[in-house]
């Protein structure tokens, strides 16, 4: 089963490497990528300093495999990548990277959007927003 989790923040260099990896595939004419980054939200005068992610990994990977095959059936995408952080990621760092590649832009854009929405709503992953001072609250997705 394809791994999606990486410990800590996703480095911009890693994202560059993924794009580089596909540069030899001349069937690809378009990439759409989504990069999610931790915001220093202010909640009741408390500033978020990091988010600590945990997951029900086995279920998340099974679910992601299902999403992956549905995306390939629904859109003419050539490649897709999903990388999600696990553990602590500081404000200003990257926690989610999704890439869809296709011959033409529309499929890549629509597929990428659907993957991001489904990663957020269907994968058993939880973010604990840790405050600069002390304490935390559990993140909610809208």
């Amino acid at each position: 089963m394809q791994q999606i989790f990486c410990e800590g923040a996703i480095s911009p260099l890693f994202i560059a490497e993924v794009i580089q990896k596909y540069s030899g595939d001349a069937k690809i004419g378009a990439y759409n990528i989504f990069i999610g980054q931790i915001r220093a939200d202010v909640i009741n005068q408390q500033v978020v300093s990091s988010i600590a992610y945990t997951a029900y990994k086995e279920m998340a990977l099974e679910k992601m495999q299902g999403i992956r095959s549905e995306i390939f059936n629904k859109y003419p995408v050539i490649e897709m990548e999903v990388h999600h952080s696990i553990g602590s990621v500081a404000a200003g760092e990257i926690c989610l990277f999704v890439l869809a590649a296709s011959a033409h832009r529309k499929a890549a854009m629509e597929a990428c959007n659907e993957i991001v929405e489904r990663v957020k709503s269907e994968l058993p992953i939880w973010g604990k927003e840790c405050f600069v001072e002390e304490g935390y609250q559990w993140k909610t997705n809208h």
Partner: protein, 58 residues
Amino acid sequence: MVFTDVADTDQLDDILHATYPLLREIKYVITVDRKIIRENVALLENAEVALLPPFSGG
């Protein structure tokens, strides 16, 4: 946690509510063998059950 002699997920939910009353105030879904269930499901031996609060990845 390991439970014995639990027939189905409704019965398990009752046991958990009796043991942990605060669970009534929490929103969660139940999974059996990593699949979300929406209604009562019989539990076979070695079933893996989880209570999952709302997801907040990304």
